[in-house]
Amino acid sequence: MHDRGEEQFENYLRSFRPIDPEALPAAIPAHGATAPRRGIAIAFAATVCVIAAALLLITPPNARLATHRVVSEPPPEASRTNISTPTLTRLALDEHDAFAECMTEKARLQFPPMRSDESTLRVLAKE
């Protein structure tokens, strides 16, 4: 039986509000949400690999060699570098480091590359 006193007491208890919990932590994304992004990334990486492989197969070996040679040749503007003799003399007397650097650069432009068929060592060996 529910007497009046008990009902009043229950109402009194209900007047106390339980404290609110803290906010829920940031929701963990569902597995389904990450799957498409991962799939796109994998598909993109696979496409890049396929294109790279196709380019390697399509490009003839000679073209690749030519590319390598072009890269190893000195830059054209460097060959146009020309320093007058008085300037070189002044550099040799006053600025040893700059002179040495200049000589190194001149030597690099004057002699063929070391690793090609016409390298300095090979040319000298032939002679």
Partner: protein, 166 residues
């Protein structure tokens, strides 16, 4: 109870609606507010991932039962029962009567675990004795009987404390 915001996802709406009584129920079981908070969060985060609530016949009772199960499983792992924190607030008291809040909290803490849980579920969880019985795995008569004992003890304990303070 705060009204459920219809524009929110259902789980978050349930959290707003039942979060406070669930937290109180969890504290009444484990005695630690931080552990209780974790248990409530765990239940809702799991629901967000699995959406199991759709299959529950009684979602509200399911939530209370889930919180209890999380804490009971946690107790098995810990192999010990933690004493109830004596000074952790459980309620926002009416008229900022913090002495009354402390009086009620201590009276609840003095009850045996099973009686305390029945009172919390029926008064603040607003569950019927049938629902309480389902959650605690007892008969509805046992739940009602425990409730009567508990209310009687609570009244006596709180009245005695008020007489002492007067």
């Amino acid at each position: 109870m705060p009204p459920t915001d219809q524009s929110m996802p259902p789980i978050e709406g349930l959290y707003r609606q039942y979060g406070a009584p669930l937290l109180l129920f969890a504290i009444s079981i484990c005695g630690e507010s931080s552990r209780a908070q974790d248990a409530v969060h765990q239940v809702f985060l799991t629901l967000m991932e699995t959406n199991n609530l759709m299959n529950a016949l009684d979602p509200k009772a399911y939530l209370f039962a889930s919180v209890r199960n999380v804490l009971l499983n946690d107790n098995k792992h810990r192999q010990r029962n933690v004493a109830i924190e004596p000074e952790q607030l459980w309620f926002t008291p009416p008229d900022r009567d913090h002495a009354a809040e402390q009086n009620l909290r201590r009276a609840l803490q003095s009850l045996p675990d099973d009686q305390r849980q029945v009172v919390v579920l029926h008064i603040w969880g607003e569950l019927t004795f049938g629902q309480v019985a389902e959650i605690l795995n007892v008969s509805a008569n046992t739940a009602a009987s425990r409730y009567r004992y508990a209310i009687s003890k609570l009244r006596d304990a709180m009245a005695a404390k008020e007489r002492t303070n007067a």
